[in-house]
């Protein structure tokens, strides 16, 4: 993954920046240029909450090559804790710091900024969110 791309994708990875449709309030992570619910094109930047719950998970034993030395590791789909009435936002992340935890659907997690991967050529490190258990 090139250093240019790592730089370009920083706002969503470091700050969980999403966009909220000014017309209907739907949240987009990452941002999109048009709202599929109301066709609106005006958005405001917002920051997503850093806590959520596991929706589904698996342990990767045959990883993509950039993660070759890390297997086995656990990945999950996480639904973020938004106030009642807010639209649902889910994302995919690795679960980490799992010692002593039995990973299960519904498990509460906190997103933390961690090292995700490294570019082979430039050695630039791609940081982003990983989820750690909170219970």
């Amino acid at each position: 993954m090139s250093e240019i791309r790592i730089w370009r994708e920083t706002p969503r990875r470091y700050r969980l920046e999403a966009s909220r449709c000014d017309g209907c309030g739907k949240l987009f992570f990452p941002p999109r240029p048009v709202c599929d619910a109301c066709r609106g094109r005006a958005f405001s930047t917002t920051t997503l909450p850093e806590t959520g719950r596991v929706v589904s998970h698996t342990t990767v034993h045959s990883p993509p090559s950039r993660f070759g030395g890390h297997a086995p590791y656990t990945v999950a789909i996480i639904e973020l804790d938004l106030p009642p009435g807010e639209p649902c936002v889910r994302l995919t992340a690795q679960l980490t710091d799992l010692e002593g935890h039995d990973v299960h659907t519904g498990m509460p997690v906190q997103l933390e900024l961690r090292r995700i991967q490294e570019d082979d050529r430039s050695s630039v490190i791609g940081y982003g969110y990983k989820a750690v258990p909170t219970e």
């Binding site: 929706v55 589904s56 998970h57 698996t58 990767v60 034993h61 045959s62 070759g68 659907t105």
Partner: protein
């Protein structure tokens, strides 16, 4: 719109074929289909191929394919929809003929996957997922399907044994298919104890990577009638998209794109699910066949596992699924799969499927998926 018929099919045996190139595979399947159709030339060809660039360093397949079968300067259209590339080729071949733009069209699917090692193949197949939102975080393609499997198991009580029975059945069918990658039986215990890929999926829950090519020849009614050969009507086509990232979907236990594509195909063909006599479904993973059964309306939601366990999808069951062996046993050269499914259904409807023939098959369905359902293709064929 003109009615569309399949007048010829051809396939090159799937497998780990180190002595054959992408060009060789395409040529063998294409010439077999042209011979079967009794035609020397076509007006156009549509070739489905997911990733010849990363797999063998070759793109710009149009001139390669036309030249390989001695048909320059015939126009060739290469299309890509990940593992659904073959289904997309079939869809676009249908559009060429139905629209009247072309009369005789060669539809092809091809993939050459075994020039690279397993780790490289994992990276290439992961290009079907969302690179920014999923793969950046270390998600593999099997991992996404594993998360769908877990969600299905937790909602419906689907068991690992029921998943395993999909693989066991498809391997059983593959024994009778001379074009299949694997022609050996496996049992439930082997599937359950196989090396884990992404829990709850093990290596025998996953289709292999294979080399292979498959082709068919499409034409309008008047040409089909004069061909003097058994013809099959391509009676319905359906295609729908869904989010690229799995996590953006409200329901992880189904494939909304498949449901929508099926509704379009059933509607065009004027056929309802109970009339399907034989189906080739996209069992890239065991869970995918179970979810496909439900999304296509062949069983109720949540009943894919129990129906499989009861033998309803076996060769002699209520709705035989994957008589060819499916992706699991016939093999899964990704771009070729959607066309290979159509080749099998045409052979079934002609009564030419030998030891895996489904009795009295008159209406057949193919279901091909790109990624984890970012694209789905459903086609319905009927015997004439």
């Amino acid at each position: 719109m003109r009615d569309v018929y399949a007048i010829g099919v051809g396939i090159h045996r799937f497998g780990e074929l180190w002595d054959m190139s992408l060009r060789d595979l395409f040529g063998a399947a294409a010439l077999a289909a042209l011979d079967d159709a009794g035609v020397e030339e076509v007006d156009a060809a549509v070739v489905g191929c997911m990733a010849s660039g990363p797999f063998v360093g070759q793109d710009h397949l149009a001139p390669l394919c036309a030249e390989a079968i001695g048909l320059l300067p015939t126009p060739v259209i290469r299309v890509e929809a990940a593992c659904g590339s073959g289904g997309l080729a079939l869809r676009q071949g249908f559009v060429e003929v139905a629209s009247g733009v072309s009369d005789v069209v060669l539809v092809a699917g091809v993939e050459k996957m075994t020039d690279v090692d397993g780790a490289a193949a994992t990276d290439i197949l992961a290009t079907a997922a969302d690179q920014e939102a999923e793969v950046f975080h270390g998600v593999s393609f099997p991992a996404l399907n594993a998360m769908m499997a877990r969600a299905h198991m937790e909602r419906y009580g689907t068991t690992p044994e029921q998943l395993a029975r999909v693989a066991v059945k498809n391997h059983e069918n593959g024994v009778a298919n001379p074009d299949a990658h694997f022609r050996m039986r496996i049992d439930v215990e082997q599937v359950l104890s196989a090396q884990r890929v992404a829990e709850p999926l093990g290596v025998l829950d996953c289709a292999p990577r294979s080399d292979g090519a498959a082709c068919l020849v499409l034409c309008p009614a008047e040409l089909a009638r004069s061909a003097g050969r058994p013809v099959v009507r391509l009676a319905g086509t359906g295609y729908a998209t869904d989010t690229l990232a799995l996590h953006s979907r409200a329901d992880l236990t189904t494939l909304a794109s498949t449901t929508r594509a099926a509704a379009a195909a059933y509607g065009m063909a004027g056929i309802s699910p109970p009339r399907i006599d034989v189906a080739e479904l996209h069992d890239a993973f065991t869970i995918t066949e179970i979810i496909a059964l439900e999304a296509l309306g062949l069983v109720d939601a949540g009943q894919g596992g129990p129906a499989t366990e009861r033998g309803e999808t076996a060769l002699d069951g209520r709705v035989p699924v994957n008589p060819s062996g499916g992706l699991k046993a016939r093999g899964h050269p990704v771009g070729a799969t959607g066309v290979a499914q159509a080749v099998e259904i045409v052979r079934q409807l002609r009564g030419e499927a030998g030891g895996r023939q489904v009795r009295d098959a008159r209406v057949g369905l193919t279901h091909n998926v790109g990624g984890v359902g970012g694209t789905s293709f459903v086609h319905i064929f009927s015997a004439c």
